[in-house]
């Protein structure tokens, strides 16, 4: 009791205004003021004799009193970085506008404001001021570097707009770099093209990539990873043209699609990458197929086939065989079709692509069926059925079942109906025997007969 009594004497009724440490705990929650005092306390313990009240500088006060955004802005302005300030300010403003325009319930409504993410804000501040320092010195390439860094920093999907903004500004600063013959500009254009591709603005992306292509034509610049910028430009253009062709393809405007795809093919060729060249050739081939020009289609498809073989790309090879088979089929060259389909099946099996294998089997079955070789058709269908069963896909399985059933029925119908028609004693015995045990009494002979007929 006495131990408790002694300190009570010191406590005055009102807290001593000079001694900021002895505040009541109620006041010492996490208000900015109390946090500041804690900071003050630390300094006071370091040098207790010199100052009773902690001296806090204006900057420290501002740190607690004002928002992160204001502190960042003020910090930049103090250094005279008014361009950085207005850029940051307008970006934050734009975010707010975008959010309001999107309305509550949209994705951006859930996102955290950049203002509430000090790390991002500080990064922006740091690199913007660095860029402006470089700008004052007239070093545009340094400005470009900072802006590209910022653009790469904001990778996350919710910050895409920031990335896009900085790629855009980096393009304008890259245009000011004179001494490197336009290399930075080319890089910036490539970046912008990529941004537009991501946004789905294919026409803008095409413009950027075309400029990029022109700038890099005849230059031996190589980017990171040793790849030449020109081949990058070609690849970019290939990608753009390929995607651009989708629209006319969907509208069944095959002529336009072929034009665009041919451009893509040219670009792929120029890029010197066999993989994309083959891919481009395949697409051109498919487009010609749609028009009905099977000869040209086959030419391109063969190109693809050769490249896939060279690259050892079994999937591509399968695709090529399948497409060629389709061309041949529509030309009516059934035996060649069968040849290619068998190759397709073989490649698919070797590559464990069971879906493709199943498809090949079904196609072969259909072709043999249509030629009256029901027995062979039936075997292929059965194989397809087994694969579908192993894949455990009900739709495929059902389709195969129907085909197997109908093929078998076709294979039996001739003998069976003959038996019914003649209705001799032995035939009737056959029929009743078949009805009882459902064994392939008719098929065996009928199948071979049909095969014999087919040959004739």
């Amino acid at each position: 009791m006495s131990g408790e009594f002694a300190p009570r004497q010191i406590v005055t009724f009102l807290p001593d205004i000079n001694n900021l440490d002895k505040r009541s705990p109620a006041q010492e929650r996490s208000s900015p003021w109390s946090r500041m005092q804690k900071k003050g306390k630390e300094t006071e313990t370091a040098q207790p004799a010199t100052s009773q009240t902690p001296t806090v500088s204006k900057d420290q006060i501002a740190l607690f009193r004002n928002s992160v955004r204001q502190n960042a802005c003020v910090e930049m302005l103090r250094g005279g970085f008014h361009r950085s300030f207005s850029e940051l300010f307008s970006l934050l403003q734009r975010w707010k506008e975008m959010r309001l325009a999107a309305g509550p319930g949209s994705a951006i409504w859930q996102h955290k404001s950049p203002e509430e993410q000090p790390a991002k804000l500080h990064t922006l501040q740091h690199y913007l001021t660095k860029a402006e320092t470089a700008l004052r010195a007239g070093a545009w390439s340094a400005v470009y570097d900072q802006q590209v860094f910022l653009a790469q920093y904001f990778r996350e999907p919710e910050d895409r707009w920031l990335s896009c903004h900085f790629y855009q500004t980096s393009l304008t600063s890259a245009r000011r770099v004179k001494i490197d013959g336009g290399r930075k500009e080319a890089e910036a254009l490539a970046n912008m093209g990529q941004v537009y591709m991501d946004q789905g603005q294919l026409d803008s992306a095409r413009e950027q990539y075309e400029c990029f292509y022109q700038l890099t034509a005849g230059r031996a610049w190589s980017g990171e990873g040793g790849r030449s910028l020109h081949s990058q430009a070609c690849e970019g253009l290939w990608r753009v043209y390929t995607q651009l062709a989708d629209r006319p393809l969907q509208a069944n405007d095959y002529r336009a699609a072929i034009d665009t795809l041919s451009k893509a093919f040219q670009m792929a060729k120029e890029a010197g990458d066999h993989r994309i060249e083959g891919e481009a050739a395949y697409r051109v081939g498919l487009a010609y197929q749609c028009v009905g020009d099977q000869v040209t289609a086959k030419r391109f498809l063969n190109m693809y086939m050769e490249m896939s073989t060279a690259l050892g790309d079994a999937g591509g090879l399968g695709k090529a065989y399948k497409a060629i088979a389709k061309s041949l089929e529509s030309e009516g060259k059934l035996s060649e079709t069968v040849q290619y389909l068998e190759k397709f099946a073989e490649v698919s099996q070797g590559n464990n692509q069971y879906h493709n294998l199943e498809e090949a089997c079904m196609c072969l079955g259909v072709i043999f069926n249509s030629r009256g070789q029901y027995e062979r058709g039936c075997t292929y269908f059965e194989r397809g059925y087994e694969i579908a069963r192993d894949l455990e896909e009900v739709t495929l399985l059902q389709r195969a079942q129907v085909f197997v059933g109908s093929a078998r029925a076709y294979s039996m119908i001739r003998k069976y109906s003959r038996s019914v028609e003649t209705a001799s004693h032995s035939d009737l015995l056959h029929l009743t025997g078949w009805k009882e045990c459902r064994e392939n009494v008719f098929t065996d002979t009928a199948g071979s007969a049909a095969a014999a007929e087919g040959k004739i």
Binding site: K58, D59, Q70, C73, V74, E75, M76, L77, R78, G80, H82, R83, F85, S86, F89, S90, R136
Partner: protein, 371 residues
């Protein structure tokens, strides 16, 4: 100058000695400016008192000339009304007039400040403060603008201690009202910045100007002429620190903002041939003139500066004076702009300048005849 001498001749006719017996007992008459015992009164309104003719003159020039008649209803005793409704009506009427008076005196003080007449702006600023105190009480946030005016005038006069006093009052009031508007904060920081510049605390000045620009941008937007004022003041600080590159980049910003603002004004107003002064606050005009002139001067003393910026500033000045209704000055600056625009490879502005010169020349003779 002529207005002052003219008003001086009026002054003697405007005062008369107070006859103590003519006033009610106990009501001590105080000087309008120094609150000392008064011996004179204004004969026009008879509700304003002065200790001597000097103060009377100062007040007349400063503000009284504009508001003499407005003071009468405010300062005369409330007449007797038998109905509560009438009394309430009278009260609101008076309040309304007082608010009006605050606004007028503020505008007058502001304009004088921009013109650099610091001493003359003091009476108006004081009146504004006193009225605001009457209406809103002694510690309301509405007093801050008046404090700021007084501080600015005192900074201009070099009496920094007084300015600091007023600014501390203002800062304290703002600190106590967290919901106070961005405008007030921006003005407070601008004045604090001015004070710090005057006391050669350049880092502190920069901090306050930075805050000023921040608040102004929040309130008015980034490329507004108000925000621009903060940039200009910052640039001056950077010049003092001899960081010419920063200052010139800030000047570029200011010049382009004003230029685009004035171009817009000119475009919207050229079709109507009515007088254009209404589009422009007088105080703003004075501020713009002062800023742009200063920039032109700095740039001319710095020959390596690009002529493009000179063109921009001179053109802005020409437009400003044209809009302000004095084509002669517009012509003068327009010619200057044209001259420096010849030195720039990019001739996009030349056409605008020439058309402005033409306009000014057309309007010029009219005015000379009128005056």
């Amino acid at each position: 100058m002529s207005s002052i001498t003219r008003s001086k001749s009026h002054v003697s006719a405007l005062t008369s000695a107070i006859n103590p017996l003519a006033n009610p007992r106990g009501a001590k008459k105080q000087c309008e400016l120094c609150q000392n015992h008064a011996h004179l009164q204004c004969t026009k309104c008879r509700v304003t008192f002065y200790c001597d003719t000097e103060h009377q003159q100062a007040d007349w020039v400063g503000i009284h000339e504009k508001i003499c008649q407005l003071l009468i209803p405010i300062r005369t005793a409330t007449p007797f009304y038998s109905l509560q409704a009438d009394r309430d009506h009278h009260c609101t009427q008076i309040l309304h007039r007082q608010e009006e008076l605050i606004e007028i005196s503020r505008a007058v003080a502001q304009k004088k400040l921009f013109e650099g007449k610091y001493q003359e702006s003091l009476p108006a600023a004081q009146l504004s403060l006193r009225c605001a105190m009457d209406v809103y009480g002694p510690s309301a946030v509405q007093l801050v603008p008046a404090y700021l005016l007084l501080a600015e005038a005192n900074v201009g006069l070099g009496s920094l201690a007084q300015a600091e006093g007023y600014l501390s009052q203002a800062e304290w009031t703002v600190m106590k009202t967290p919901e106070c508007s961005q405008t007030v904060r921006h003005q407070l920081h601008r004045n604090l910045g001015r004070l710090y510049t005057a006391t050669e605390n350049l880092e502190g000045a920069l901090l306050h100007f930075a805050n000023d620009v921040y608040y102004a941008s929040e309130e008015y937007g980034l490329d507004n002429i108000v925000t621009c004022g903060g940039y200009f003041l910052m640039a001056n600080v950077f010049i003092k620190q001899e960081k010419m590159d920063i200052a010139s980049s800030l000047y570029t910003e200011v010049a382009s903002t004003w230029h685009s603002h004035l171009t817009k004004l000119l475009e919207t107003h050229t079709p109507g041939s009515m007088m254009l002064e209404h589009s422009f606050d007088e105080a703003q005009q004075a501020e713009a003139d002062q800023m742009l002139r200063a920039m032109l001067k700095v740039q001319e003393s710095n020959p390596k500066q690009a002529a493009a910026q000179n063109t921009l500033v001179a053109h802005s000045l020409a437009m400003l004076w044209f809009l302000g209704g004095s084509p002669d000055k517009a012509l003068e600056f327009g010619r200057k702009a044209l001259q420096s625009s010849q030195l720039v490879p990019d001739h996009s502005l030349t056409e605008h300048i020439q058309s402005l010169l033409q306009l000014a020349a057309e309007r010029g003779p009219h005015l000379t005849i009128a005056s």
